[in-house]
């Protein structure tokens, strides 16, 4: 028969979690073997997180590149369903995320989680509308059929917002992957737990491995080599400021990367299209329609 009054100091001990990285759909440790302690605003220990190295960054880019063909080639319908599935899985873990955000000291934790879910739903509905809204037929002055379609830019490296650890993160990732890009995101340095929990959501949704890769650690250590990386096509610098941002933009010039560096972002407001458009290319295709012979309808 169990003791009804356990002796002092013998309460059940919580199982503290040691988080790893999320790369290529798997959860590797940092190749450097390093971790760092995540604490709440009062300095109390919350968890250990991996401290990614530059090599981890390169591995993540490889995973993102490998995933790009399949993800960008998937139908918009399919991408929309996958992103909606992420929203479903996040909703299912709502309580866990509210706890995490609360322990990290973020205000309005419940509202943030709800807004994060809704944001994913919002972008799930964008996948099959981008082409109609940002592309279309070009009425050129000549016997040609000409049309322009949006295409994903490629592999995007994003530095997530440092404060808004879930809603900000989702608001950065979702528009990038909506159009078929893949992403390597560096989570908030001091509040990485929501990102790491999101990795578990992504791993159990239908998102192909490598489409989203999440690194934890110091952006100032990891980001510069990614900004200079020849196989990275674009940067989202939402979570950077000051000298680091300038340094990353300067590195990006070496390979003419697209850089999205907004001056300020209020994630509680309804999203526009700037984030979507930042990682879209416009492809214009021309073809002759033949000599005009049938009352302007085009010969054939």
């Amino acid at each position: 028969m169990p003791d009804e009054h356990p002796p002092p100091g013998a309460e059940r001990l919580a199982v503290a979690k040691t988080y790893k990285l999320f790369v290529g759909g798997a959860f590797p440790r940092s190749e450097s073997g390093r971790t760092y302690q995540v604490t709440d605003p009062r300095g109390r220990f919350l968890a250990n997180a991996a401290r990614a190295s530059r090599k981890d960054g390169r591995d993540a880019v490889s995973a993102a590149r490998k995933a790009f063909g399949g993800w960008s080639g998937a139908t918009a319908y399919n991408r929309g369903q996958v992103i909606y599935r992420i929203a479903e899985m996040l909703e299912g873990r709502r309580a866990q995320f509210v706890d995490l955000l609360t322990s990290a000291g973020e205000h309005d934790a419940a509202a943030s989680v709800d807004a994060g879910v809704d944001r994913l739903v919002h972008y799930a509905g964008w996948t099959d509308k981008l082409a109609a809204v940002f592309g279309g037929a070009n009425p050129v002055a000549g016997p040609f059929f000409s049309f322009s379609t949006p295409e994903p830019t490629g592999v995007v490296v994003a530095v997530a917002p440092q404060q808004d650890s879930l809603l900000g993160l989702v608001s950065v990732i979702a528009p990038i992957i909506t159009s078929g890009n893949t992403v390597v995101v560096i989570a908030s340095r001091h509040r990485p737990l929501a990102a790491l929990a999101l990795a578990e959501v992504l791993a159990t949704s239908d998102l192909p491995g490598g489409v989203v890769n999440i690194l934890t650690g110091d952006p100032a250590e990891i980001a510069p080599s990614l900004a200079a990386h020849g196989d990275v096509d674009a940067l989202d610098l939402t979570g950077t400021e000051g000298e680091l941002r300038t340094a990353l933009e300067r590195e990006a010039a070496g390979t003419v990367k697209r850089v999205f560096a907004p001056s300020a972002s209020d994630f509680t407001r309804a999203p526009g299209t700037a984030r979507l458009r930042a990682f879209l290319e416009t492809k214009t295709v021309w073809h002759p329609t033949g000599a005009l012979s049938l009352g302007g309808a085009g010969g054939y």
Binding site: A252, V256, T284
Partner: protein, 495 residues
């Protein structure tokens, strides 16, 4: 000499030579001296005068006053004053009317502009007359109609102009690039300070007269002739809100680097090394025309030129033979002659660069074939040149030559064609020649390039977006995508 109809491939040239048909240089009304255009006035700059040459003769054409640092300050100040004082306040409908006027003004002075452009640039008069000038007018006409419809452009409910735009344009299409840059900027409500290329400053200064004649408010467009140092001063000027550059990838990278951390907007239209892909089922004769147009239009001084011919192995011999036969008929020479197909290289410097890069083709083991067309003994000319036996690793297959030099590679399967075509840091344009519709559309989506021409090449229209992937730059010109570069849509919740 008799013409034997049973001897295909042989032409009795002497029976069919065209008589010379030179356009009159007087139509260009070249003046002895041109001035900068700042604050609505033609003024002398504080830089040294610049002599611009006719590249077809290497003789001086005119003298142009150039800007210095303080002139850049003045011009940016004038543009700021015009932006805040009038241009950002007048209605879109009124702005549009100015642009319509400018379009008409270009059309009315089309002959003069075409001749002037050919004298200053060296391009054949038939191209400046039929392509550059009409397309420049079309760009103003197209964008005029956007000025009062920006809220329909799809970039949010209240698009606003960015402010003062600094623009730097190249020498290959001096007037057309000016139109591409100025028209969308003004339609969106911005004001402009623009620097033309050092070797081709004249046509944009005639455009300045057209702007003045259209009563465009002073300072809305300011034109600063000068060299690279003025371009640098302009793009780095703290009074500029947005920079738009067309030119080399190297300079584009420098500009991107120098703007890092400033928060200023930037669009870049840079170099290219386009693959022009010919499949064995292509209409070969049309493809040959397209290959010629793709690489020899404007002497190959085209960022989207089809400088890498990828031809399917089974038809390579036939395509190359027909191509060489066709190129042999191209007439190289006086750009002012209406029968000239290939004019002058724009400058001695560019001729040296083309010559040096072509020489690397010989050094690396490619086989050079040169058009038999006689080359004028003065001016800057380079005969149409085709390299076969080209490997992907050669410099002539990787670097932008920006001259009438074609590199021929072969492939066996569509996958190989895509892999080779995409095997470049550039991504501006590509061509596909095949009769098979599914292959055209499949190739078009597989090619990482901003423009794909299928069974045609080098088509441009103000309604169709143009611009590059990868290191060919970012941003588009033309169409709705092109407007985005000149509009602030940040009121969409900061997202």
């Amino acid at each position: 000499m008799s013409l034997d109809p049973h001897a295909p491939g042989r032409r009795a040239a002497s029976d069919w030579e065209y008589a010379p048909a030179p356009e009159s240089a007087a139509i260009g009304r070249v003046r002895d001296r041109y001035q900068m255009f700042v604050g609505g006035k033609f003024v002398d700059g504080r830089g040294a005068d610049l002599t611009t040459l006719n590249p077809a003769t290497a003789e001086p054409l005119s003298v142009v006053s150039t800007a210095s640092g303080p002139d850049v300050d003045d011009a940016v100040g004038q543009a700021r004053k015009a932006f805040e004082g009038s241009w950002s306040r007048i209605s879109g409908a009124e702005r549009g009317k100015y642009l319509f006027r400018i379009a008409r003004g270009i059309a009315e002075r089309a002959r003069e502009l075409a001749v002037l452009e050919t004298l200053d640039n060296g391009k054949p008069i038939k191209e400046s007359r039929d392509a550059d000038v009409p397309t420049a007018a079309a760009h103003f006409f197209y964008h005029a109609g956007w000025a009062d419809k920006l809220q329909h452009a799809g970039f949010g409910p209240s698009p606003r102009p960015l402010g003062v735009v600094g623009q730097v344009i190249p020498w290959n299409f001096p007037l057309l690039m000016a139109a591409w840059k100025i028209a969308p900027a003004l339609a969106a409500g911005n004001t402009v300070v623009i620097k033309p290329a050092e070797t081709t400053p004249l046509s944009i200064l005639v455009l300045a007269e057209i702007l003045a004649d259209a009563d465009l408010p002073p300072g809305v467009v300011n034109i600063l002739p000068g060299a690279g140092d003025i371009g640098r001063a302009l793009v780095n000027h703290p009074g500029i809100d947005k920079v738009a550059f067309t030119g080399s990838t190297d300079v584009g990278k420098q500009i991107q680097r120098s703007l890092a951390g400033t928060g200023r907007r930037l669009t870049l239209e840079l170099g290219g090394k386009a693959a022009n892909i010919v499949f064995d089922d292509a209409p070969i004769d049309q493809a040959v025309e397209g290959i010629v147009n793709g690489i020899f239009f404007n002497q190959g001084h085209v960022c989207c030129a089809g400088s890498r011919l990828l031809v399917q192995e089974s038809v390579a011999e036939e395509v190359i033979a027909k191509l060489q036969e066709r190129i042999s008929t191209l007439r190289l020479g006086d750009p002012m002659d209406k029968n000239t197909d290939i004019g002058a290289i724009n400058s001695a410097e560019q001729l040296a660069r083309v010559t040096a890069l072509a020489a690397t083709g010989d050094d690396e083991g490619a086989i050079r074939w040169t058009s038999p067309s006689p080359v004028p003994d003065r001016g800057y000319f380079f005969p149409p040149t085709v390299f076969t036996n080209v490997a992907q690793s050669m410099r002539i297959a990787r670097e932008e030559i920006f001259g009438p030099v074609l590199s021929v590679l072969t492939f066996r399967t569509p996958d190989e064609a895509v892999a080779k075509a995409n095997n470049t840091p550039y991504g501006l344009s590509a061509g596909v020649w095949t009769e098979k519709g599914s292959r055209i559309l499949g190739m078009a989506s597989a090619l990482r390039a901003g423009v794909v021409w299928a069974n045609t090449f080098n088509r441009f229209d103000p309604t169709a977006a143009f611009g590059g992937y990868k290191e060919s730059g970012f941003g588009r010109e033309g169409g709705r995508s092109g407007l985005a570069a000149y509009l602030d849509t940040d009121d969409e919740g900061g997202l």
